[in-house]
C-alpha cells in the first residue's frame, strides 16, 4: 500500500509550493494531480502578484487595501501575514529564477492593479502565473518528491476524526487505490466550472473542496464568487487586469469612460466587484455594445502592448478577431474566482486533524467578500508554503497511519462500479453541467435576489436528483474522461448548493455578493462568515465571527 508523510493533492502553485516546503523539511512528500502539474490553472494567471516591494509602499498599506477590498470580511490576522510575508516570498521566487520585469535600476518592476493604493503587482509581461508555475515546478525536478501525475482523487480517508490519506484512481490504468499519509494538503484550486461561462480551466471543478466537505470539513463564505470585469463574450476567456493597470480605458456605447460615475477616484482601477457591477448596469441600461462594454488599449501603443500584453493580444486576435492595438475589444463580467473554500487557520490546518488546505480551494480568509487582483498568486505561495511547513511538522509529530481496512476503498470501488453499470437512458454528465452553469450564471451572478437564489437552489436540487441516474458511456479503464467528468459533476453539484444556500442566507450586499433586495452592507447582522457543513440532505449553515485586528469597518468608496 502506498504511504507517505505528506500527500499534496493538486499541483498548481499552492500545491507545488506546499510540496517544495514540506520536502525541504525532510519528510517524505508525494504530489498528486489529475493533470501534469504544468497544466494546472495557475498558469492562466496573467497580470501580477502583489508585494509591497516599492520604497514608498508598506505591508500595512497593502493590508489595508486588501481588507477594504474584501469589504471587511477578510480575517485581518491572516491579511497581516499575507502582506508582511509577501516581499520575501516574491524575492524567493525571483531567486529561484523567475524572469520578473525590472525597473531602470534592475530591481523588481511593479504595475498598478485594481483597488490598490500603490503599484505593487510584480509581473512577467501578462504571463505571470505561467512563468512562476514553471519555475516552481522546475525546483521540484531536483528530485525527492513522489509524483502521482494524472491520478484523480476520489475521497478522503478519515478515521475516527483523523485524516489518514486519500482514495484515488490512476487514470492510466483505472485502478483505484488508497494512498495513506500522515498529513494531506488539499490544493485543488477553484470551482469555476459550476458557472458557464467562466475564465476557469476545464479542470477547475472544485474536487478537493467537495471531497473535504463530504468528509466533514466546513466550507466558509462559499457565496463569495468573483466576476472579473474583462472576459471575452463567447468563451469567457480572461483579459488581464494588467491591461487597465497599464492604462486601458473602459468605454460604453457612447464612448464614455463610465467608471467616472461609479468610482470617480480610481476609475478603471477600482476593485473587480465594483467594476463588474458598473459594467452590468451600463449594459442593462442600454449603453452596452452587443451585451458587452469596450476595453480600449489603443493609446498604449503597439510597442508597449507587444512587450507587456502579448498574450492577451494573441487571445483577442484568436478568439475575438480583434487586434487590441487597433480597435477596442468587447468584454463583459465573467465568473473568475471563488473567495470561499475549505476553512483553514493561518497555517492551512482545517478542523479535521491531519487535513490541510491552501490556495483557491481554501478559505483563510484573506479575500473576504472580494479579492484584489494580484492577491491570489500571492496567497498560493505564502499560504502554500505555510501549509507545507505545518503539514511537515504535523507529520513528524504523528505516527504512520496503521493499516486501514480495505472496506474504505471498497465503498468507492462499488460506487464507481454502480456508476459504470447504469443504463444509458439518463442525461449525460455534460448536460447536467451545462444546466448547472446556466442557472448559476443567471441567478447567482453579479446581482442576486431572493427569487433568483431560490430558483437556483431548486434547480441544483433537481440536478442532484437527476444525477442519481447519470450514465457513463465509456466503460474502459484507460484514461476514461467520461467517468472522471461524471465524478466531477457530482462534486460540482454539492458545491453549487453551498454557494446558492450561503447567498440566500446573506441578506445584505457585501463585496461580490450584491443582493438587489438588500442593497446595503449590514455590519450589525452580517459582519460574519458563513460556514456550510455537509449533511446527506443538504448543507447546514452556521456563522462565525470575523477577526478584526486594526481596521474597523468603514464605508467603502473608491
Amino acid at each position: 500500500m502506498f504511504s507517505h508523510d505528506v500527500l499534496v493533492v493538486g499541483a498548481g502553485l499552492a500545491g507545488m509550493r506546499a510540496a517544495l516546503e514540506a520536502s525541504h523539511r525532510g519528510v517524505d512528500v508525494a504530489l498528486l494531480s489529475k493533470v501534469q502539474p504544468l497544466r494546472s490553472h495557475s498558469a492562466a494567471a496573467q497580470g501580477g502578484i502583489n508585494a509591497a516591494v516599492g520604497e514608498d509602499d508598506s505591508w500595512e498599506k497593502h493590508a489595508f487595501d486588501t481588507v477594504k477590498g474584501s469589504d471587511y470580511l477578510a480575517d485581518q490576522d491572516a491579511v497581516e501575514i499575507l502582506c508582511k510575508e509577501a516581499p520575501a516570498d516574491i524575492v524567493e521566487l525571483e531567486r529561484m529564477g523567475t524572469t520578473f520585469n525590472r525597473r531602470e535600476d534592475g530591481r523588481l518592476a511593479t504595475r498598478p492593479f485594481g483597488g490598490a493604493g500603490f503599484p505593487r503587482a510584480c509581473y512577467i509581461a501578462d504571463i505571470t502565473g505561467q512563468a512562476i508555475l514553471h519555475v516552481v515546478w522546475e525546483q521540484l525536478q531536483k528530485g525527492g518528491i513522489h509524483p502521482y501525475e494524472e491520478w484523480f482523487c476520489i475521497s478522503l480517508i478519515v478515521d475516527d476524526g483523523v485524516c489518514r490519506g486519500v482514495v484515488a484512481m490512476d487514470m492510466m490504468t483505472g485502478q483505484i487505490q488508497p494512498i495513506l499519509a500522515r498529513a494531506v494538503i488539499m490544493a485543488t484550486g477553484g470551482l469555476g466550472r459550476i458557472y458557464q461561462p467562466t475564465t476557469n480551466s476545464i479542470i477547475s471543478t472544485g474536487d478537493g473542496t467537495a471531497i473535504a466537505y463530504r468528509a466533514g470539513a466546513p466550507l466558509m463564505d462559499m457565496e463569495m464568487v468573483q466576476y472579473h470585469p474583462t472576459t471575452l463574450k463567447e468563451s469567457g476567456v480572461l483579459i488581464t487586469e494588467g491591461a487597465r493597470g497599464e492604462g486601458a480605458y473602459l468605454l460604453n456605447s457612447l464612448g464614455e469612460r463610465f467608471m467616472s460615475k461609479y468610482a470617480p477616484e480610481k476609475l478603471e482601477l477600482a476593485p473587480r466587484d465594483l467594476i463588474s457591477r458598473s459594467e452590468w448596469i451600463e449594459i442593462e441600461e442600454g449603453r452596452g455594445v452587443d451585451g458587452c462594454v469596450l476595453v480600449d488599449l489603443r493609446h498604449l501603443g503597439e510597442a508597449r502592448i507587444k512587450e507587456r500584453l502579448g498574450q492577451i493580444r494573441e487571445l483577442a486576435q484568436d478568439l475575438a478577431n480583434t487586434d487590441i492595438a487597433r480597435e477596442p475589444l468587447r468584454v463583459r463580467p465573467g465568473m473568475h474566482y471563488q473567495m470561499g473554500g475549505v476553512k483553514t487557520d493561518v497555517d492551512g490546518a482545517t478542523p479535521i486533524q491531519g487535513l490541510f488546505a491552501a490556495g483557491e480551494c481554501a478559505c483563510v480568509t484573506v479575500h473576504g467578500a472580494n479579492r484584489l487582483g494580484g492577491n491570489s498568486l500571492l496567497e498560493t505561495v505564502v499560504f502554500g508554503r505555510r501549509a507545507g511547513r505545518a503539514a511537515a511538522e504535523y507529520a513528524r509529530e504523528h505516527s504512520s497511519p496503521a493499516a486501514i481496512s480495505e472496506a474504505v476503498v471498497q465503498k468507492d470501488v462499488e460506487s464507481i462500479q454502480e456508476l459504470l453499470s447504469r443504463p444509458e437512458n439518463g442525461d449525460r454528465p455534460a448536460r447536467l453541467r451545462r444546466e448547472l452553469g446556466e442557472t448559476m450564471s443567471s441567478n447567482v451572478g453579479v446581482f442576486r435576489s431572493e427569487e433568483g437564489l431560490r430558483a437556483a437552489l431548486a434547480k441544483v436540487r433537481e440536478l442532484k436528483e437527476r444525477y442519481r441516474q447519470v450514465p457513463v458511456q465509456n466503460k474502459g479503464k484507460v484514461y476514461n474522461t467520461d467517468l472522471i467528468q461524471a465524478l466531477e459533476v457530482g462534486f460540482m453539484l454539492d458545491l453549487a448548493e453551498t454557494v446558492a444556500l450561503g447567498a440566500l442566507g446573506r441578506r445584505e450586499s457585501r463585496g461580490a455578493h450584491a443582493r438587489r433586495d438588500f442593497p446595503e452592507r449590514d455590519d450589525k447582522n452580517f459582519l460574519k462568515h458563513t460556514l456550510a457543513r455537509y449533511a446527506p440532505d443538504g448543507p447546514r449553515l452556521e456563522y462565525s465571527p470575523v477577526t478584526i485586528t486594526r481596521w474597523q469597518p468603514e464605508r467603502r468608496a473608491y
Binding site: R39, H41, A125, E307
Partner: protein
C-alpha cells in the same frame, strides 16, 4: 457550421491497432478544434480521449496534429482550416507513444527536460541580499524562452526527433538555453557539457519546424543556435 472530424483512435484495451473515426457535428462558427472535440465527447461519443484544460493556449495540454501539423487544438479555429466543412484530420502528437486516442505518453519528453538541469543553479557563496539585479531588456528576452509551455508541439514537429528518438529535442534545448543565458545562473558548464553530447544539440539541422510551429512564438531554433555558439566559444576557450 458543420464540422467534420476524422479522428485517429486507439484503444489499448480492445484493438491495439489505430483506426480513423469520423464525427460530424453542428458547431458555432467560433468553434476551435478543441471546442469541437469537446462537443463530440459530450454529445456523441464519451469514449473519445484527449487532454485539455485552459482553452487559452497557456496550459499546453491539447497539443495534437491537425491536418498533419502539430498545434494546440484550442488555438485552431475549425472554420479557418476547413472553411467549407472539409474533413479535419486529428491525430495524436508524433514521435511519442499513444496512451489512448489523442493522449500521448509525454514521459520521454519530460525526461529529456529533466536531464538538462532545468532550474536555476544559484551562486551559493555569494547570494544577493534581496533579488538579483537584472536589466529589464534581459528579463524580457529570457521571458520569451521561459514562456515555453512544454506542450510538445516542437517535439512532434521536429524531423530529427522523428529519426532519432534519443535526440533531446527543441523544448529541452530551449530550456537549457534559457538558464545558460540567465545572468543569475551558475550551472552553465554542466549544462553545456550535457547538451553537447552525441544526441544533443549538434543533431539539430536547423530545419526551422519548431520555430514555425511553436504556438507561443518561443523560437526554439534561435535558442538552439545560441546554445551552439556558447558551446563553440567555450571549446575555443573564448568564454566560460
Amino acid at each position: 457550421m458543420r464540422v467534420n472530424l476524422r479522428v485517429r483512435r486507439l484503444d489499448p484495451e480492445t484493438d491495439g491497432e489505430p483506426y480513423v473515426q469520423s464525427y460530424s457535428i453542428d458547431a458555432p462558427e467560433s468553434a476551435t478544434v478543441l471546442d469541437s472535440l469537446l462537443q463530440v465527447r459530450e454529445e456523441v461519443d464519451g469514449t473519445l480521449a484527449f487532454r485539455c484544460s485552459c482553452r487559452s493556449a497557456i496550459c499546453g495540454s491539447c497539443a495534437m496534429r491537425i491536418n498533419g501539423v502539430s498545434r494546440l487544438a484550442c488555438k485552431t479555429k475549425a472554420i479557418e482550416i476547413a472553411p467549407r466543412g472539409q474533413g479535419i484530420d486529428v491525430e495524436p502528437l508524433a514521435n511519442l507513444l499513444v496512451v489512448k486516442d489523442l493522449v500521448a505518453e509525454m514521459e520521454p519528453f519530460f525526461r529529456k527536460l529533466r536531464e538538462l538541469t532545468p532550474w536555476l543553479v544559484p551562486d551559493e557563496e555569494h547570494p544577493p541580499e534581496r533579488e538579483y539585479l537584472m536589466e529589464n531588456r534581459r528579463a524580457v528576452y529570457l521571458s520569451q524562452f521561459a514562456g515555453c509551455i512544454q506542450c510538445g508541439v516542437c517535439y512532434s514537429a521536429c524531423p530529427i526527433v522523428a529519426i532519432d528518438n534519443e535526440y533531446l529535442g527543441p523544448a529541452a534545448l530551449t530550456k537549457a538555453f534559457r538558464y545558460c543565458h540567465d545572468p543569475r545562473d551558475h550551472g552553465r558548464a554542466q549544462r553545456l557539457a550535457r547538451v553537447a553530447r552525441e544526441q544533443g544539440l549538434w543533431r539539430c539541422h536547423t530545419v526551422f519546424s519548431c520555430m514555425e510551429q511553436c504556438p507561443k512564438g518561443v523560437d526554439p531554433t534561435q535558442a538552439i543556435q545560441q546554445l551552439k555558439k556558447m558551446v563553440i566559444l567555450r571549446r575555443l576557450g573564448l568564454s566560460r
